[in-house]
């Protein structure tokens, strides 16, 4: 199982890691008994994701996925953010080892969860 340089570099210095104090919405998915949990904080203004942060418990791939996904959604409209696919995340990371592909889903699920909660408000 070999990680790409891009995965390693995101893991080494993840972007947007932390807590967003005045988040408009928060999405959390995963389960510690499976070893990964991702929480995404979104600050939304006029349907645009102005700011984003994440907290993740998980492997190097889960942290790299969180980092790259939060980069992708920043500045996007809600609709465009919802269009992000797991393939885009995997491609942006220069690929993920097969057993780690599910980590990319974790990111998407956390994002969708946050947006769903926002839209219900």
């Amino acid at each position: 199982m070999i990680y790409s340089d891009k995965v390693i570099s995101h893991f080494k210095k993840p972007h947007n890691q932390g807590v967003l104090k005045n988040a408009s919405t928060v999405g959390e998915v995963g389960n510690p008994s499976c070893g990964d949990v991702m929480k995404i904080y979104l600050k939304i203004e006029n349907n645009i994701i102005k700011d984003v942060k994440f907290e993740t418990l998980g492997c190097a791939a889960a942290i790299a996925v969180s980092s790259v996904l939060t980069d992708m959604v920043k500045g996007k409209s809600i609709d465009d953010a919802l269009k992000i696919t797991r393939k885009q995340i995997v491609d942006d990371l220069g690929g993920l080892p097969e057993p780690k592909i599910h980590c990319s889903m974790l990111g998407i699920e956390a994002l969708h969860e946050a947006i769903k909660k926002y839209e219900k408000k």
């Binding site: 199982m1 990680y3 390693i8 893991f11 080494k12 993840p14 890691q17 959390e28 510690p32 008994s33 499976c34 070893g35 990964d36 949990v37 991702m38 929480k39 907290e55 993740t56 418990l57 998980g58 492997c59 190097a60 791939a61 889960a62 942290i63 097969e98 057993p99 780690k100």
Partner: protein, 399 residues
């Protein structure tokens, strides 16, 4: 150890060890100059024959058995497969109902063959373990039935380092029925412990070269004379027809040399490694909060220190240490491509969410105090950082 120099600290000796220089030196002539086939009758073959014979004697001396009782294999995986499937095959061909007893914390090279045998109708009992990972001997006594033909218990657990009391287990088995054969996967033991097949009542023992500063891809199975066993791999009739295949002469010579050195230097190495491991473990326990110690230091081999760093995921710890030039392993599911964390830690009663945070440090004869200090200088920061990333950690901790 200067910061700008690329450091590398290897603390994964349970995974494999570097081949000792003296072992390499012993092996080298057998690649080109003395390349003969062990089975050839001419003098080049005889040269190979005597080299293998010498290695066989060294291994037999280590195990306190006859050299005809040693079968060379490609490593412990093969030795385990041959022991389990070979003995089962003997009885299955006689249409006997048979029962095998093993433990829940064996290496996959035992568990997978057992699962295959179950599909062939063999009944297998997987014994539970105590909190420290040692097999629950009271349960062993209860598990023995009239159909039991084989008991397989590892000598030392590869993940946490716990030593099983094989002498006691051997006595119990033979007392219950002397026709029950006793196998042990001693792969992780032979660097650190005596392995006297007579004293331990063993009929079958699996060992491997690369865990004792020998080459990879070579191992042996001790098969006590009279033990019922059938070949799994057939062909050119080598190794008394029990294991066909051209003998890997250089590797076997290296394995012989490695086991000779292991025996000669065992006491010295054990002392050195235990001192370093204890120093390291004490500091980890003192300096990093909220950890679980998975190695029972009083009942384990000198190399192991296995911890759960609650709230930090094991593979992320491993990768962070790797970025600092430190090599370890983890029982996290994320590192295995399988959904569950270490079956050993789960069998010891550690909850899944905690087992994901385990890291195994295994020390070896070349490690130094400076290396341990270097690891201690980066480890607490890595754990703190990963806990900070974890959305659940602070909350679960502050209430």
């Amino acid at each position: 150890m200067k910061k700008n120099k690329k450091v590398s600290v290897y603390l994964d000796h349970s995974a494999t060890t570097p081949t000792d220089e003296r072992v390499i030196k012993a092996m080298l002539p057998y690649f080109s100059e003395k390349f003969g086939n062990y089975s050839s009758i001419h003098s080049l073959g005889r040269e190979a024959y005597f080299a293998v014979d010498d290695a066989r004697k060294k291994i037999a001396s280590f195990l306190n058995c006859n050299s005809e009782e040693i079968i060379f294999t490609s490593g412990s995986t093969e030795s385990n497969n041959l022991a389990l499937k070979g003995v089962a095959k003997y009885f299955l061909e006689k249409n006997k109902n048979i029962h095998i007893i093993t433990t829940r914390v064996e290496h996959d090279a035992i568990l997978e063959p057992c699962r295959e045998l179950e599909k062939q109708g063999v009944r297998v009992t997987y014994l539970p373990v105590l909190k420290n990972g040692a097999v629950d001997i009271a349960e062993l006594e209860k598990a023995i039935t009239d159909e039991t033909v084989l008991v397989s218990v590892m000598y030392v657990n590869n993940e946490v380092g716990i030593i099983n009391d094989l002498a006691r287990i051997g006595k119990i088995i033979k007392k219950a029925n002397h026709k029950i054969y006793f196998h042990s996967d001693a792969t992780q033991a032979i660097n650190f412990l005596d392995c006297d097949s007579q004293e331990l009542n063993l009929d079958l023992v699996s060992i491997s070269g690369h865990k004792i500063y020998g080459p990879k891809g070579v191992g042996a199975l001790y098969i006590k004379k009279g033990t019922p066993i059938k070949a799994i791999q057939t062909g050119g009739h080598q190794e008394r027809n029990i294991r066909s295949g051209t003998m890997n002469v250089p590797a076997i010579v290296g394995f012989g040399k490695a086991i000779e050195l292991a025996k000669k230097e065992q006491e010295k190495n054990n002392k050195k490694i235990a001192k370093l491991r204890d120093y390291f473990a004490d500091k980890v326990i003192k300096e990093i909060p909220d950890i679980i110690v998975n190695t029972d230091f009083n009942n384990s081999v000198s190399s192991h220190a296995n911890f759960c760093f609650v709230g930090a995921e094991g593979e992320a710890i491993l990768m962070s240490l790797d970025l600092e030039g430190i090599f370890v392993s983890t029982g996290s599911a994320c590192a295995s491509g399988n959904l569950d964390p270490s079956h050993v830690l789960l069998a010891m009663g550690i909850p899944k969410e905690i087992a994901h945070s385990s890291i195994r440090f295994t020390f070896g004869k070349h490690n130094t105090k400076a290396e341990a200090d270097y690891v201690l200088s980066v480890l607490p920061g890595i754990i703190e950082k990963l806990r900070e990333y974890n959305p659940l950690y602070n909350k679960s901790n502050s209430n």
